[in-house]
Symmetry: C2
Subunit: 292 residues, 2 copies
């Protein structure tokens, strides 16, 4: 229903509402090739050992295809395919009205209400979505690997600002200490309040499971910190605000499309195309039509 944006989702969402807000949502981001899938799979193993019910939502904002097993990378998740305490789902958002900001929170609500203790949200695609995914999570893991192009320079454009926990994966490779040093410097330079969370750096070799328990422990630490400081509530409040806004904007967009059988927007577009009007004035007319 989420993937199809089914109208029935409204009722389902209302029924689920009282059962949500329990899951710890952990975003996993990083450039392609750092080992996101392998790390996610290893984290699932670690969390299952601790008796937790785990959900995995693999989001691919660049693909129009959704489904449990469509994405190639999901093969790495097959270790967990028969474990009833693990639910894995791939989700695409290309072409979705409202995109990721609409669809992903709804999928998370379903997994949350289904009783997942932790939900790992992993991006399968690349690009700007990384930052968007971080906005969905209580805790954001940023994965880096040595020997990826310009090292941490390459990642600086966006994802390095959003990490609550930094994981240097493939730490058995040359260059791992260098990456850790650069990350340490970066973290040391960032301004933060004295009692604020200081992002830890964990070295892992996810393919061998090395360091993964430590990552799981830091994830738990971060949740504890968020709860103790009240930041959890704040982050979730911000998130729900965005979620409501995204749903409302899609609702407005549908109303725009429905205005006099769509012809309102068409005639406004004609006016702009002919140079008689500018798009801002046309947009004003469109908004006014909503209340009319």
């Amino acid at each position: 229903m989420v993937e199809d944006a089914s109208p029935q989702l409204r009722e389902v969402s209302a029924a689920l509402a009282p059962h949500t807000g329990r899951a710890h949502i952990v975003g996993i981001t990083g450039s392609p090739g750092v080992g996101k899938s392998t790390s996610t799979s290893a984290l699932v193993t670690a969390m299952r050992k601790a008796g937790k019910r785990v959900g995995v939502l693999a989001v691919d904002p660049s693909s129009p295809f959704s489904g449990g097993a469509l994405l190639g990378d999901r093969v790495r998740m097959q270790d967990h395919a028969t474990d009833p305490g693990v639910y894995i789902r791939s989700m695409a958002s290309r072409g979705h009205l409202g995109g990721l900001s609409w669809a992903a929170p709804q999928a998370l609500r379903v997994l949350d209400a289904a009783g997942c203790d932790v939900i790992l949200v992993e991006t399968v695609g690349v690009g700007q979505s990384e930052v968007e995914i971080a906005g969905l999570a209580d805790t954001t893991l940023v994965l880096i690997a040595p020997g990826m192009g310009d090292g941490i320079q390459a990642a600086k454009a966006g994802i390095l600002e959003i990490g609550d926990i930094y994981v240097v994966n493939k730490a058995d490779r040359d260059g791992a200490p260098q990456v850790r040093r650069e990350l340490r410097n970066m973290i040391a330079l960032a301004e933060r309040a004295p009692d604020a969370w200081k992002p830890p750096i964990v070295l892992t070799v996810a393919s061998k499971g090395e360091g993964v328990d430590e990552v799981a422990a830091e994830i738990a630490n971060h949740l504890e910190h968020l709860s103790a400081t009240g930041e959890l509530r704040e982050r979730r409040h911000r998130r729900v605000r965005s979620e409501i806004e995204a749903i409302a904007l899609v609702g407005v967009q549908k109303r725009f499309a429905g205005l006099s059988g769509d012809s309102r927007l068409d005639s406004l577009a004609d006016g702009v195309l002919e140079g008689k009007n500018d798009p801002f004035s046309a947009a004003d007319v469109l908004i006014e039509s909503l209340s009319g």
Copy 2:
């Protein structure tokens, strides 16, 4: 003003409106490493030879930084830095309310009104934005290079569907004939009306300027086809519709934020956080507040 989403942009847009609609907007997409910047620069050279005024808009949806010379790749454009018939601008949209769908059309309007005959829109970042960029253009070039991972398989997720012209760059490398063959098959398999445009495939070595005149000629052919069939008007109409809608949605979003000093959305978010309400009902209340 566009980059800052300045309030004065409204007046400017109104003043520019009668002067827009002349430029041929050409999108240039492709995976990182296929030679987008080099190809863009070579196309500028070819179009300048033909006496055209050329605008280049390099869009990076993953970066928060805008500016004429901030992005490293722009270095390749320095051949044209002193040519008054070429205007080059880098543009970022991360963090922009409304994102690329809001900001890029406004930048294109400015370049259009400034008298550019052709505007090349190149993506600097990666990911889903490719398809978004194609939505901005009259003509979309898809660049592919041999020896990039899985060949054209790798690109299949989205960008292969959107090309009006396919360019196999780095065609002096092994594998170029193979890429051309695969593209040919793909194009042959696609369903299209008998009189529809059939995307040509051009082989280039952009770094040496080889094949670039042919690309420029195909770009001109495509424009002619679009004009002759009335498709140009249709594409632009669709585009202006989206543009008006994007501006209106940002306008609505600003009104949401302004509702009773923002407290409306806050209390709705609290209700959802506490499980008393679901986000869909909250969104309905938010939309109703607009007319209230």
